[in-house]
């Protein structure tokens, strides 16, 4: 019996545990979200957030002893379809949309599901889609295939789809990771709007600043256990990080004066239509140059050209004093440029193949014996060397790379590129998907490399990352370099405010 004055929570979980083959993914967890609340679910990778979401949405069943209440009703043995019927929706990071189908069909897709064949009225689909979009305050061409839409619009489509399904609680998994600042703002606006209409939203995001901004409470999970539920009113990102990792991170500025070192990379007035314009920069030996800015600023595009994957329309590039013309990434690798791409999972590593194979892939020609065949011994030596140098925790080199944690995988990626003995190393958002706790380790490696004389271009979305780890920071916006800062001469806050301005 509930008192009339107490509002029923959208979801309440008690004593939820989940075991996968001997691994305790969740351990006696409690979780509660109020109706219309914007709530944040925070925790490192592997802490159990996804498992929790899958339990609430009926994909997994919890161990016996768990109590699940959805909108006041106790549920047992729920299926995904049932969860949806009760108003629980998830928008996963990959959005699960259908690129070839139209926007209208994607949004109204819920009405198309079901084993009994029913007649489809395309007009009705469009009406439903129209209504959903209207409630979000956005308009998108209904008949266009989703494949033509940029990521931000696709997210709107995904949210609209959840709404058509009469969702009353929506989980959003890393919704802002590919959005520009304006798009993020718009998304958060939509979130607030939805919350006002009584739809609860649970955010899972590693952008702690955003989360604190838009959510009213945050649930922190660590190693499958509940650490605590806090109001966000007095929360700071560092405190939240501490809660998530259980560790305190003391960050100091690295920035050093390297104006006397030789210039390794010199880029002069590089321009590529539609991507970046008139870019001039210099990186010296042993220097870490940070490059930051909002998404869409052209940083990755610039990196692609530096790595030879695209060609600039005009401007020049020279390495160690000699001008270079790159026709492919192989050319770039030949002259000593290495690029660690942002997407580690599908581009940086070949997940199914072994750690050893991944590490030596770029340098196979150098690991051949005189007969032209690959030398097992040399391969083994190379792999052993890098595993040692970068302290990579592995089982055996023959194991698939997918068995490693995010942080260790990133070290494998680094060692792979280091085998090419580069003179310039470009790191594009190297800590994405790496636990906060493991990030320090990655940057330790970066510092060591710089100390050994490597020139490093560090691209990151997190201003604090470049602030603490780079010698100089460039701010790129709209394809142009608009700011050049020394971390020693500016505070993090004022740098952030300039970038997010």
């Amino acid at each position: 019996m509930e008192a009339a004055t107490v509002a029923v929570p959208a979801v309440r979980l008690r004593h939820v545990s989940k075991v996968f083959g001997g691994v305790r993914a969740l351990d006696d967890l409690d979780f509660e979200v109020g109706q219309g609340e914007v709530h944040c679910l925070a925790g490192e990778n592997g802490c159990g957030k996804s498992t929790l979401i899958k339990i609430v949405t009926g994909v997994h069943t919890p161990e016996p002893g768990a109590e699940i209440e959805l909108f006041g009703e106790s549920v047992q043995g729920m299926t995904p379809l049932e969860a949806r019927a009760r108003g629980i929706a998830v928008i996963w990071q990959d959005l699960a949309l259908f690129p070839e189908m139209s926007v209208a069909e994607n949004i109204a897709f819920d009405t198309l599901v079901g084993a009994r064949p029913r007649r489809v009225s395309h007009a009705r689909l469009r009406t439903l889609a129209q209504e959903a979009l209207a409630s979000l305050g956005i308009s998108i061409e209904l008949d266009e295939p989703v494949s033509t839409l940029p990521i931000a619009k696709r997210q709107i489509v995904a949210i609209a789809r959840a709404l058509v399904g009469d969702a009353r609680l929506i989980f959003m998994d890393e919704p802002t990771s590919s959005l520009t600042q304006t798009e993020t703002d718009r998304l958060l606006e939509i979130v607030r709007r939805l919350s006002a209409t009584g739809v609860a939203i649970v955010f899972v995001s590693h952008r702690l600043a955003e989360v604190i901004d838009v959510a009213s409470r945050v649930t922190v999970v660590r190693d499958g256990r509940l650490v605590g539920v806090h109001d966000t009113a007095d929360m700071t990102t560092s405190r939240l990080t501490e809660l998530m990792t259980g560790q305190n991170f003391d960050q100091s500025i690295r920035s050093r004066d390297l104006s006397t070192a030789t210039v390794m990379l010199e880029v002069t007035r590089l321009t590529r239509k539609g991507e970046y314009e008139d870019v001039t920069l210099r990186i010296r030996r042993g220097e870490v140059l940070g490059l930051t800015g909002l998404i869409g600023a052209g940083r990755t595009e610039l990196a692609h050209t530096l790595f030879g994957m695209t060609r600039a329309d005009s401007g020049g590039m020279s390495l160690d004093g000699k001008p270079v013309e790159l026709d492919s990434n192989r050319d770039a690798m030949r002259v000593g440029i290495a690029y660690v791409s942002e997407d580690r999972l599908s581009l940086g590593l070949i997940q199914q193949q072994s750690i050893a194979d991944n590490i030596v892939l770029p340098v196979l020609p150098r690991l051949s014996s005189p007969s032209g065949l690959l030398s097992r011994r040399r391969i083994g030596d190379t792999v052993a060397r890098w595993v040692r140098e970068l302290s990579i925790r592995i089982g055996r080199p023959e194991h698939a790379v997918s068995t490693l944690s995010g942080g260790n995988q990133q070290r494998v990626v680094l060692s792979k590129w280091l085998t090419t003995e580069p003179r310039l190393l470009i790191l594009d958002c190297p800590t994405v998907g790496v636990d906060v706790g493991a990030r320090a380790g990655v940057f330790d490696i970066v510092q060591r490399l710089a100390d050994q004389g490597l020139a490093i271009l560090l691209i990151s979305d997190e201003v604090s990352e470049v602030y603490f780890n780079a010698d100089r920071v460039l701010h790129m916006a709209g394809g142009r370099i608009v700011g050049d800062y020394l971390p020693g001469e500016i505070t993090l806050e004022s740098l952030e405010s300039r970038i997010y301005a």
Partner: protein, 340 residues
């Protein structure tokens, strides 16, 4: 190259195949007294190579994540090329030089058709199934056009030993096949090209990013595949003393079957030569056995189809079992991060 738990899995794979082979031999020996004869094994040894070469031609494309459906017709068209050269030089009176020339021409034809497929797959990005299908239709049409669907025969006598002779008791075709198989193994397991094939099979974009010349590798894969088909075609000519466009149509299925029975991953990225060769021996024995039992040709065809289904079913079930095994092992090693 390597994959998870390399040594254990591979040892168990080979032992499994050897057990199956013994099982097959026992089964057919019981069924017919003629199975366990030298003559039968000899016949197996003579018939295996052509099938084997075709299977090797199918192997690399599958490893790279594709498929080459045109192998049989490529082989036959190459054979036709050789036949044409031989006939132009007098048919049964043609000299060894004509044979050499013809062989080179045949290999060139095979390489060319593979090259075209490879280029379209690599540079245009078209689906290998579709491209090889189109090439298959084209080659079949071309062959039928040139031969009006008939047989070409009348070849020099000195070719007979190649197709039917032995050295020290080992059939020449078998020597050829084993030599090629050994080369193929070295290529796949010990060269850069081989490593690239596996990586491309698992993830072509990541391979490209890591500096692998994916387009060149793909083109080379199909070109080499074409060369192997040509060798098969030449061999078939020497064995049957005739060439027909549609010869060996049924072999396509068997090559796919041999690859999967030999542990090749249908999605690419994993597989080796040795288990496939073992699988070939098993299949050829089955074929011989069926023949000796007097089984109708059509029944054999059905058997191949059913065998393929059976092998895939078993692989699936074995995969599920393996997954559970891995699960528990990895739990002990504790490198496994659940949660996502």
């Amino acid at each position: 190259m390597k994959s998870l738990f390399k040594s254990e899995l591979i040892k168990s794979e080979l032992t499994l195949l050897i057990i199956v082979l013994c099982g097959v031999i026992v089964l057919f020996s019981v069924g017919t007294p003629q199975f366990l004869t030298l003559g039968n094994f000899g016949s197996i040894a003579f018939q295996l190579p052509a099938l084997g070469l075709l299977t090797l031609a199918m192997l690399a494309p599958i490893l790279s994540g594709g498929l080459n459906l045109a192998i049989v017709y490529t082989a036959n068209l190459s054979g036709l090329t050789l036949a044409w050269v031989l006939i132009s030089f007098g048919g049964p009176d043609a000299g060894p030089l004509a044979f050499a020339l013809g062989s080179i021409a045949a290999i060139a034809v095979g390489a060319l058709s593979g090259l075209v497929m490879g280029l379209v797959i690599a540079y245009v990005g078209a689906h290998p199934i579709l491209v090889s299908l189109a090439m298959m239709i084209f080659l079949r049409g071309l062959g039928e056009f040139l031969t009006r669907g008939g047989d070409i025969s009348g070849f020099p006598e000195y070719l007979r030993p190649i197709g039917h002779g032995s050295i020290l008791g080992v059939p020449i075709p078998l020597l050829l096949f084993l030599g090629v198989a050994a080369l193929w193994h070295v290529l796949l397991a010990h060269t850069r090209h081989g490593a690239a094939v596996y990586m491309i099979g698992s993830n072509i974009r990541a391979s490209e990013y890591s500096g692998v010349h994916t387009r060149r590798t793909l083109t080379l894969i199909y070109t080499l595949s074409g060369v192997l088909c040509a060798l098969a075609g030449i061999l078939m000519l020497t064995r049957f003393n005739s060439v027909r466009v549609g010869h060996g149509e049924a072999l396509l299925l068997i090559t796919v079957l041999a690859c999967f029975l030999g542990g090749v991953d249908p999605f690419g990225g994993f597989g080796r030569v040795l288990p496939v060769v073992l699988a070939l021996i098993i299949l050829q024995s089955v074929s011989s056995g069926l023949n000796l039992l007097g089984a109708n040709q059509h029944l054999s065809t059905a058997v191949w189809g059913l065998l393929l289904i059976g092998v895939m079913m078993l692989r699936h079930l074995a995969g599920r079992f393996n997954h559970l095994k891995k699960f528990f092992h990895l739990k002990k090693v504790n490198h496994f991060k659940q949660g996502k």
